[in-house]
């Protein structure tokens, strides 16, 4: 179990990110960390403009002035975090105790920011982009020793994302590497994994920190780079589990399902298959989160239904308090989780409303309440 990041789907708001990238964090508030006050629930007066749920029970809220609140215990407690600049759009903030890493953007470009005192002081280094952008994902290994930044250019989602990859070398400098596609990064020990490509049909592995990449078959042949069959399954972010990596794959053709594969890249074997009741289009990924060493939670993309997988068994629950389909999901442990839901409604083509909400559970996903 060496994967660096456990991550739910990235939220589709402005897309900041909190990724704690650690599989062994406390479910208690990080006392004295992140340089701010820790409170139960979101503090009054804080009006978030964006939120991201990711990692192992991690959530980040950012207001219009770039003030941030971070939770590492599935929304039970929130700590103010003073970032040294505007966080890049994407999974761009990693909090692990007092160690905070962030990618920020300003007029001068993109910067990697590091703090070892919970955000009281920062060390900045430039991310030497060749194509300007303000969108990036940060992947940090659990011990903080490995770090990669994947910057992508907005507006190229259909066909590649124009990825620019930078990996930290032994001297702590960011070195440009070639990424085979835009997508999501994760560390698996010294191996760097990337899921992405058209319809998110590809998994790549790099044994040498991004110098070389190999497409990894998952349950079949590697999808082509162009002209991808819309029935092709979509590969989700790899998750740490009791036995190596678990790769959730959403199947759209015929009866929709999430097929879990476990093992190591190149030797992934099918495990539990979770049937979905949703009607899915191509490229849809079901939100999936690890909720412990052998627990996986799968969210139905089209409803609030959750599927709780433990070992080889699975239970379908219809939670109380989830107002709609989950956009992103993250669990600190088998009981405590946090989710983002966007409720949408329209009357005709007019008077449409969209309401993103962040909710928490303390009973393994069976009931949910708003944080704060």
């Amino acid at each position: 179990m060496t994967i660096a990041t456990l991550r739910g789907s990235v939220l589709a708001l402005l897309g900041i990110a909190a990724l704690a990238g650690c599989s062994s964090h406390s479910t208690h508030p990080p006392a004295g960390s992140a340089a701010g006050d820790t409170v139960v629930g979101a503090p009054a007066g804080f009006v978030p403009a964006a939120a991201v749920v990711s990692g192992a029970g991690h959530a980040l809220l950012v207001d219009a002035h770039d003030a941030a609140l971070v939770s590492t215990d599935a929304g039970a407690h929130w700590t103010s975090l003073r970032l040294p600049g505007k966080p890049a759009a994407g999974d761009s903030v990693v909090v692990a105790g007092d160690r905070v890493t962030a990618v920020t953007v300003d007029a001068a470009g993109m910067r990697l920011q590091r703090s070892t005192d919970g955000g009281r002081s920062w060390q900045a280094s430039p991310v030497p982009l060749t194509i300007p952008t303000d969108q990036a994902q940060l992947a940090v290994s659990p011990d903080g020793g490995r770090l990669a930044v994947l910057a992508t250019v907005r507006g190229t989602a259909n066909d590649g994302d124009s990825p620019q990859l930078y990996v930290q070398d032994a001297g702590g400098r960011l070195v440009a590497r070639q990424a085979p596609a835009g997508g999501q990064l994760a560390w698996d020990g010294s191996r760097l994994l990337l899921t992405g490509g058209p319809l998110r049909t590809r998994l790549y592995a790099s044994p040498d920190a991004g110098r070389t990449w190999v497409p990894v078959p998952v349950g079949g042949a590697v999808a082509p780079r162009f002209g991808v069959d819309p029935a092709a399954p979509s590969i989700g972010q790899p998750l740490a589990g009791a036995v190596g990596v678990t790769v959730p794959v959403t199947e759209h053709a015929g009866a929709a399902a999430v097929q879990l594969y476990t093992g190591t890249p190149g030797a992934l074997v099918p495990g539990v298959r979770v049937p979905l009741a949703s009607r899915l289009g191509s490229g849809v990924l079901a939100p999936v989160a690890a909720a412990g060493p052998s627990e996986i939670v799968v969210a139905e993309p089209g409803s609030s239904t959750l599927h709780l997988v433990t070992g080889h068994s699975q239970v379908t629950v219809h939670p109380v308090g989830l107002p709609g389909p989950v956009d992103a999901l993250s669990f600190a442990d088998a009981e405590h989780g946090v989710a983002q839901v966007t409720v949408r409604s329209c009357t005709g083509k007019q008077d449409c409303a969209e309401s993103p909400e962040v909710l928490a559970t303390s009973d393994g996903g069976r009931s949910w309440h708003h944080t704060g």
């Binding site: 789907s9 589709a12 402005l14 897309g15 804080f46 009006v47 978030p48 939120a51 759009a89 194509i131 300007p132 952008t133 969108q135 250019v153 907005r154 507006g155 190229t156 989602a157 259909n158 066909d159 590649g160 124009s162 620019q164 070639q178 085979p180 058209p198 319809l199 162009f226 002209g227 991808v228 819309p230 949703s278 009607r279 899915l280 289009g281 191509s282 490229g283 849809v284 089209g302 409803s303 709609g324 389909p325 956009d327 839901v341 949408r344 329209c346 005709g348 083509k349 007019q350 008077d351 449409c352 409303a353 969209e354 309401s355 993103p356 909400e357 909710l359 708003h370 944080t371 704060g372």
Partner: protein, 303 residues
């Protein structure tokens, strides 16, 4: 409650008369002027109609104002219906061809176009041909500007044939999907501008089609195409800032493409569920030409 702290109203709408003021004020060739005329005619129609014309007429260029989306592959007609009823959507981007198109399109047929346009949808046809020669991982056009120009013309002819094969009128707008990255050298910028010039000029040949260009508003140097002579008739700018207004495009001058000549892709791939169907879509707001059975104004927030 936190959830109550994050409301976002997507915007109501009401009928609005489209303005007719000429916009991109620069010298135009005669064929390009024809393209502009098509846009202006569409603008007149937009002022007169606020509902799609449910008819079996050949879908053609109409000004469309409202929200939409696109997906890598065209959804089934039943999925399109689910995303029509009581949703904000009235525009859908379709990838009609090109060597660098990411997804195959088993649903995208003439019958599909007829069905969805009769339902009321307006379509944004996109062509994903060869890309900027500085962009890795794609087929490219030449760095030689003369060759790139000719290649742009060739792609325009292919796109036109695809429009016709899909049952769209000869005046249908079509957008070249120009992926953004790598266009940061003078050689590649000039080659890209020459390619787009060839695309624009060829589409302006009678029967002219309004020519569009899609790229990232900043990283794709979208505003640079305004100095082409003539420039593309309209733009489809990508900036995932969540701001739906097509007037708000970073790095694009507010004085360019101002007369119902803009679409904006304001959010990238995400899941949305409507009427029991979940699709992974990009979000778009339109204030420009699309292929439809009538003009439509569905959301003033897109202006």
């Amino acid at each position: 409650m936190l959830g109550r702290m994050l409301p976002r109203i997507l915007g109501g709408s009401r009928a609005v008369a489209a303005g007719l003021s000429p916009t991109v004020a620069r010298r135009r060739s005669l064929p390009a002027a024809l393209g502009t005329a098509l846009l202006l005619i569409a603008g007149c129609l937009a002022g007169a109609a606020v509902q799609p014309t449910a008819a079996s007429a050949t879908p053609q260029s109409y000004t469309t104002i409202g929200k939409g989306g696109d997906s890598c592959t065209a959804p089934s007609t039943s999925q399109m219906q689910a995303f029509w009823t009581n949703t904000p959507f009235l525009v859908w981007g379709i990838y009609i061809g090109g060597i660098d198109r990411a997804c195959s399109q088993p649903n995208l047929t003439k019958s599909w176009v007829t069905t969805v346009t009769n339902e009321g949808w307006a379509l944004l046809p996109l062509w994903v041909g060869p890309q900027n020669p500085c962009l890795s991982g794609f087929d490219h056009f030449s760095t030689n500007t003369s060759t790139a120009y000719s290649q742009g013309q060739t792609e325009a002819k292919s796109a036109y044939n695809a429009l016709i094969a899909l049952g769209m009128a000869a005046n249908s707008p079509v957008i070249y999907d120009m992926e953004a990255g790598g266009s940061n050298t003078t050689t590649c910028i000039n080659a890209t501008k020459a390619f787009v010039q060839g695309w624009t000029d060829q589409l302006a040949v009678a029967p002219a089609q309004p020519s569009g260009i899609y790229t990232s508003t900043c990283a794709g140097f979208l505003d640079d195409f305004a100095s082409n002579s003539p420039p593309p008739n309209f733009i489809d700018g990508a900036d995932y800032d969540g701001v739906i207004s097509t007037s708000s495009m970073p790095c694009v001058s507010t004085s360019h493409w101002t007369n119902h000549q803009r679409h904006k892709q304001y959010a990238g791939g995400h899941n949305e569920t409507w009427n029991g169907v979940t699709l992974n879509i990009d979000s778009t707001c339109s204030n420009g030409p699309a292929v439809a059975n009538g003009a439509y104004n569905g959301n003033n927030g897109c202006l």
